[in-house]
């Protein structure tokens, strides 16, 4: 499926851009994560890798549908 990915912090550096249309095999956050790591191995080096849909953290089993907007959340460091 094809989704719209938005990246912040180091995730933006890894993707090389803020927004990206990403195509992968699968229909969950977990599968998206696997596909992203495969294509961008630097994601595997991070302390953690989370995802948000509609401004909420979502787990690996969260179902994705075509054209959905997914935000990549690398380790946060506010404060």
């Amino acid at each position: 499926m094809q989704i719209s990915v938005i990246a912040y912090g180091i995730a933006k550096d890894i993707l090389g851009q803020r927004r990206l249309t990403f195509e992968f095999e699968g229909d969950s956050i977990g599968q998206l994560k696997t596909a992203l790591i495969e294509q961008y191995p630097d994601f595997a080096k991070l302390q953690s890798l989370s995802f948000a849909v509609e401004e909420e953290y979502q787990q690996d089993d969260y179902p994705l549908s075509d054209q959905l907007e997914v935000v990549i959340i690398p380790p946060v460091s506010g404060g």
Partner: protein, 138 residues
Amino acid sequence: MIDIQLLDTPLSVAQCSQLVADPAAGGTVVFVGTVRNSTQARTVQRLDFEAYAPMAIKEMRKIAEETMEKYGALKCAIHHRVGSLDILEIAVIIAVATPHRKAAFAACKFAIDQLKETVPIWKKEIFADGEVWVSAHP
């Protein structure tokens, strides 16, 4: 009362302290996070903060709500800065007012600990010879 702000202009300790002033408050604790001049013995020139703004505001509000409920707080303000900050500039202010002072310390500590865990804000340390996204790697 909860006041959440994500700002690209300087934060004010006086304002946050005023925002949580309450005639029933016995104690107010304010945490002020400022930009430090060094990290692991390297000299920091400045910090760049970036936020996934709508979600950062949502997550800060959740923390304030949990703080209010868990510690019986009367008022809670969380202000976070974004953009490029020099040494000594304020990155975050959390102010909590509670009826008794002991709870104010616990509540404010809880809020800043949570903020550092869950709020989608990222800081990059700028050194003379490079840049590092804080906490990104193990």
